[in-house]
Symmetry: C2
Subunit: 494 residues, 2 copies
């Protein structure tokens, strides 16, 4: 305490020293993450076993602080051993690549360090979020409506579920689910796992998530949806919510929105479109037909942090509703934050639409990037991704050993690599078992060598296959060629 | 499409151009946000009416992109019209000030752009989050346990509620709340509004949040909790969850954890401590007694983005549980992400503990700051905040017109400013009505002049009073004096 008292006349933080550290740290970030981290001559990952990595990083937090030089070395180490998700050989997830305008927006967001709950602490961002949401809604085909940025698509999906049940039975907010008949949610087995997670979290229970059949390419079958709705009704359960997917996680399938909307109209159900992954096709005149009928939905979840490379996280929930449903459903009117006797229009205090209190500003990075390249620049990114995928698939077909799971509809390419020893052995009893082990083995090799990152998974009764998603604005034809060469190289002895 | 085709051989993004833009943007951020934005000679806010601000910002998103110079002007405008939350005269919320080590960690987090769900995409951060959580748990008094970073304290509180009901009735995950008896949640009327929001979102319903009486300083009364539990039980309702608060939002009260833990033990209830605001006292040998008994809780929510200035968002949920409850409750075992045939220990794929899929990395900023100043440096910040508050209160008592709502227990100071015209008029019939208008009027003036930001609210039957929270490492005695002078200046003619 004596030490503290000495410092009382001055702040505990010295700006000059602090800014000097920040400046040095930024230099390391630019060099390690943005230059080396996007250079194909460098590794996409520097694999270390967990125990070894923990030792290297010296993570323990201690009583005393450290010198600036030591701290800068830590910044360098964190960068070095982290995955380079902007690297042109990172295909592991639906975030990849970097946009410098977005990144500048993210740095500015961090420096401004405010919360999106009231106009008084976030005047610029309240207005900006409204405008970004308006522009996204316009692409959906809505001239009015509502919306909010959420911490990820899973949360957006949960919001939609909660809104659907509140619209049907507003008493749920005060009385809980006990006051309601049993409710059912419908989605396909290829939808994102967040539908089930959300159903559990919100108290619906995963048993009340009814899985509607898909066709052989992974699209929800509207006739089966209709039948399952009728069946549930006959059992005294109230259908509440249909969650379609525009761009499924694994295969990139787009559920037939128009025909599903017909079924929802017939039964007066809330139609939600989980377009977290696929929503960005709405920027493309050529490809937006994939989401034909989306304007008939009640809600759309769309993550610009995926295909548009806006940076994690950037996830919008868009609503057709014009009755302030979002606020009515979620508000609690905290008197310390949402005072009604303020000197400005309190409708600008948007925080009560959220179930969060602190809510990060996720609109600036998207807004600045959109301003920089325009809708046409974002359209170009989407169109280019499709062209690269078409090229990749054409090249696969020319090579032995690449076997497509199905023809791609979007920018996901799902394929088995059949190593030389398994070619022509499809009839053998142990073929599937052996094939299932190929992708994990190649994956281990690529990570340990640091040359490539791509994911694999089983699906239904199909054994492990690779799923590559191509959309980073940093990749081009030669990266597609490299991708195929590298899978061949890594799997040639299997 | 022709334009797109031309670019296919090359990436759509030019690194040199991009990094040059980023470099210029960073210069603006440092100058506008970190230098001017923390300078007491500059305004804390640049108030504009919403319509005027919208015009100034030209928010509309268009077909074509813009030139770099125009974009840099936009960065400057966003900074200019945003609130300077790091400014020594920003007391409006429980985030204020800036720590440069944390900020460097945040920039690095943004540049690395990964998700905390699997070891393969976030090796450094999986290990780092575990270590930070371990260190925070150690301060709570637990040598083992579990935890996760959440997007804000509201989400942490919801997680705790969901875990409590799952522990009691694991069938809720599959069957939903319909399979369970009615459950009740207990908290105080001065707890954070997220308890009610969470109860509505999770399907409990706000009517099932039972408000336990508080004493005159805002502490939950354990005897009333015990009585209310008995009453609910006699009505056939199952008590499930008690949410205490360590540092209430408005008055900064610490509920008596030890005595509440006795009641929870007696009834075998889950004890949650919402220490989002107050948790940081655990760093201080001198002040950690405020949370005596916290080690008896089942869960603790603690937001280092508040008092420790780690930057938004940084919110930890800590659990005493050692049975993998978090994962059992939230997991859905998505086969495309959490493959069980990976080549490393899949227990490091922590994502299935979360109800999010994409989850931001929130540990690095705290870790780097903690490494920089050590536990002792964080303790110093906490201790200094208490000293500044004691000084502020002592000065208030020396001046006419400042009337404390109650003696501060923490770093919240709640007070009415009694303007000259109302002094000595406490007996008048319209006194309370007139007093209620004072804080909003002064607030409007300070924002329009840009000299200060502090919040106000009513509480129970107490009319609008100011609440100032003092904890930014950038403030010192002279800022306390300024605060009082400025309130007097702004309210002298009222």
């Amino acid at each position: 305490m004596e030490a503290a008292l000495c410092n009382l006349k001055d702040p505990l933080i010295d700006h000059t020293e602090g800014q000097c550290f920040l400046d040095e740290a930024i230099k390391i970030i630019v060099e390690e993450v943005l230059c080396k981290g996007t250079d194909v001559k460098q590794k996409v990952c520097e694999w270390k076993e967990p125990n070894e990595l923990a030792l290297l990083l010296d993570l323990e937090l201690r009583e005393s602080g450290e010198q600036q030089e030591r701290l800068l070395q830590r910044v360098r180490d964190v960068a070095k051993y982290s995955i380079k998700t902007s690297h042109p050989r990172f295909f592991n997830q639906q975030f990849a690549g970097v946009d410098y305008h977005s990144l500048a927006g993210r740095f500015l967001t961090e420096a401004l360090n405010t919360n999106l709950f009231t106009y008084e602490v976030a005047p610029v961002f309240v207005l900006m979020e409204m405008e970004v949401l308006r522009s996204l809604r316009q692409l959906v085909g809505w001239t009015e409506g509502d919306g909010i940025f959420c911490p990820g698509g899973s949360t957006s999906n949960m919001y939609a579920m909660n809104l659907a049940r509140y619209r049907l039975h507003p008493e749920v907010k005060s009385q809980g689910l006990w006051a309601l008949p049993r409710l059912a949610i419908f989605t396909s087995p290829e939808s994102h796992y967040s539908v089930k997670k959300g159903a559990a979290f919100l108290g619906f229970g995963t048993d009340n998530v009814i899985l509607v059949k898909v066709d052989e390419r992974g699209h929800m079958i509207p006739e089966d949806l209709d039948e399952k709705i009728e069946l549930l009704k006959s059992q005294g359960v109230i259908p509440c919510f249909v969650s379609c997917t525009a761009g499924t996680t694994v295969r990139g399938a787009f559920d037939p929105l128009d025909r599903i909307a017909d079924v929802c109209d017939k039964h007066k159900l809330w139609l939600h479109v989980d377009a977290a992954w696929g929503g960005s096709v709405l920027f493309s005149k050529q490809h937006r037909h994939l989401m034909k009928g989306v304007e008939r939905a009640n809600s759309v979840a769309w993550n610009p942090h995926k295909m548009l490379v806006a940076g994690l996280q950037c996830s919008a929930l868009l609503l057709k509703d014009t009755t302030n449903l979002l606020k009515r459903c979620h508000s609690s009117s905290a008197s310390y934050l949402f005072q009604q006797d303020k000197f400005y229009d309190v409708n600008l205090d948007v925080g009560d639409k959220s179930v969060q209190c602190s809510r990060k500003v996720d609109c600036l990075k998207l807004w600045l990037m959109w301003k920089a390249v325009g809708s046409s620049g974002l359209e170009e990114r989407v169109d280019k991704a499709f062209i690269l995928v078409r090229y990749l698939v054409a090249q696969m077909k020319k090579r032995d050993g690449f076997h497509l799971v199905c023809e791609p509809e979007f920018v996901n390419v799902c394929f088995w690599f059949i190593p030389p020893s398994l070619r022509g052995k499809e009839g053998n009893a142990d073929y599937q078992n052996k094939l299932a082990k190929v992708a994990p083995t190649i994956k281990e090799r690529m990570m340990k060598q640091g040359t490539l990152m791509v994911g694999y998974q089983p699906l239904g009764d199909m054994v492990n296959f690779f799923r590559v998603t191509v959309f980073s604005p940093l990749v081009s034809f030669k990266d597609m060629d490299f991708f195929l060469d590298e899978i061949e190289r890594l799997g040639s002895d299997l």
